[in-house]
Amino acid sequence: MATDKGVTIPKAKRFSRRRIREWTYGYLFILPWIVGVIIFFLYPAAESIRYSLSDVQLTNPMQVIFWGFKNYINVFVTDSDFPVAIVSFAIELVLKTPIIVAFALIISLMLNEKIKARALYRMLFFLPVIIATGPVMDELTSQGVASVPMVSQAAFMTAISGALPAFLADPISDLLSSLILVLWNSGVQILIFIAGLQKVPRAMYEAARIDGASGWESFWKITLPVIKPMILLNTIYTIVFLATGGQNEIITMIYDNMFYAIAGRGYGYAAAMAWVYTVIIGIALLIAFLLLREKSDRKVVYESRRIKIKGEWYSAK
């Protein structure tokens, strides 16, 4: 009976019983998360802004005394380590992100070919995702096994430090000495690329081949346009991953400053650091997005295809 009623009521009616039921259940499902987002995200984020503008004293009970932008000024003026760390983090991002994404792309292109033991290779390249964590990487770095073996590094590094100014040479030699561990960050990206590559219809390559296109041309004309959105996705993933996980110096710095027992340091100061850091990450993400987003003409092509697919969906229904 009730379902009969639901069908007869015209769809345009805004507050039908069915709709209200739908809303109620919908919100019931996401209710735990809404509570969580308020308690563990929105409230802490607001508190964090308040701390960053205050002098937080760890007396009992904790005192938060508003003092404006002093923490932010201190972060840049009195702290000699933090601005340096931010700059080196930015350089690190610029160096590492393209390397990781390009490496992931090359590996996944090879794994997408018809090769034997493909599952085995995929397993090997994904392995570091499981074991690459801060303490393990620290141990390996301290053993000096993080760099590519058999490359005569000493000579190479001397050449680099001779040819480039120190602020560029240092990060590059750092990068080389931990190249393997940098590449270890590429596991998930490889899988994302492979998943994308598999969606390119084989028929498309065949058609191109019949028209006389070489493999090289097919790559530029077919493969690359299709995986371009994946490149953006992977770049964003890589930036977020490098910024929040593993051996990140700035996170350690924020953490140390939280419990630093010097006047002017502490929670407020650490919160200001965290926000400055967030802005830097935000800028990095924005730049990546602007560089790699779809050009508008291409977007139209995709949109039209999607509508067509959707159209078929509805007609099938």
Partner: protein, 321 residues
């Protein structure tokens, strides 16, 4: 005449070999194949070089570390390194605690993220766009920003140092990387045809019943993936774990293998109390044995379940269409 035929045959043979070696448009040539296998294998070797080094060093007796002849293969398999590392890390005890720290929050996280993802995908609710943007925001905003007030909050609620510091946020959809899992479930449930769930509801099930009867069984691939990744990430998270467990990680307190690895040197000193230049001073082999031991459980899990891990991205549509 005959000469001409010969030269034609030769040409054809040449062409044939060229096809096999260099390849044509239809088929990859042998040379390219060999090149690719060699390249892939050597990259894979370089990739795994640290792990292989770790394994071989961890088995070396003390003398081998100084002997450059035994750079790769230990002169004898020396298992006492592992024995020392097990004692230093209080291994079995720590392993058990680590399992608890990863397992229960993972359960909470899977349960809630699945429900939230389903709720967002299945129901047309007002303000959906707003909630989706908020999910993305919780993914993009680095946890360091909310880490400090969260720590204060947890201390006020007396959660620090207990398992609840991990379970409670997970139960409210705010565990480690919960946003990513919500998005995975959202994507997955969106691909499931509505008609299936609707049919179940017309048969008299409530939306809750339909969720458990239809949506959950259908989303098993996504559930498996989230279980695996959630477990691994809870297992591996160090900075936040250290913070929420507090400094008071005494012998009966909660701890993880990676936290024990971080303070390996101190623990070793306190267990063995070696005097300067004593033969049982901490060496690289013992350190590597400790590192090996702390990744071993996940490594074994990965080798058993690797297919699930690797297939995951295809199945769950992480790539986001």
């Amino acid at each position: 005449m005959r000469n001409k035929l010969d030269s034609v045959a030769l040409e054809a043979r040449k062409e044939h070999w060229k096809k096999i070696l260099i390849g044509s448009n239809e088929k990859r040539g042998l040379l390219l194949s060999i090149f690719m296998y060699v390249l892939l294998t050597s990259i894979a070797f370089i990739f795994l070089y640290p792990v292989l080094y770790m394994l071989s060093t961890s088995l070396m007796p003390r003398e081998d570390l100084l002997d450059s002849a035994a750079k790769w293969i230990p002169s004898s398999i020396y298992l006492k390194n592992y024995y020392d590392a097990i004692l230093t890390m209080d291994y079995w005890n720590t392993l058990f605690k680590n399992f608890i720290i990863a397992f229960f929050p993972m359960l909470a996280q899977v349960l809630i993220c699945s429900m939230v993802g389903y709720g967002l995908a299945r129901f047309e609710i007002p303000g959906k766009v707003f909630w989706m943007i908020l999910v993305l925001l919780t993914f993009l905003l680095p946890p360091q920003v909310t880490m400090i007030p969260n720590y204060v909050l947890y201390s006020k609620l007396k959660l620090t140092g207990t398992l609840w510091a991990f379970i409670l946020p997970a139960l409210l959809g705010m565990g480690f990387k919960s946003a990513l899992f919500i998005l995975i479930f959202y994507n997955f449930h969106r691909q499931v045809p509505h008609s299936l769930v609707e049919a179940c509801e017309i048969d008299g099930a409530s939306p809750m019943g339909a969720y458990f009867k239809i949506a959950v069984p259908l989303s098993i691939p996504a559930i498996v993936v989230v279980i695996l990744f959630s477990f691994v990430w809870y297992w591996n998270e160090t900075t936040l774990t250290q913070m929420y467990l507090g400094y008071a990680s005494s012998s009966d307190g909660l701890t993880t293998l990676l936290l024990e690895l971080q303070k390996f040197e101190d623990s070793y000193e306190s267990v063995y109390n070696p005097w300067e230049a004593s033969p049982n001073k901490l060496n690289d082999a013992i350190r590597m044995a400790g590192t090996m031991l702390s990744i071993a459980p996940l490594l074994i899990m990965y080798l058993v379940l690797q297919k699930r891990f690797v297939e995951s991205v295809d199945k769950t549509g992480i790539t986001g269409e």
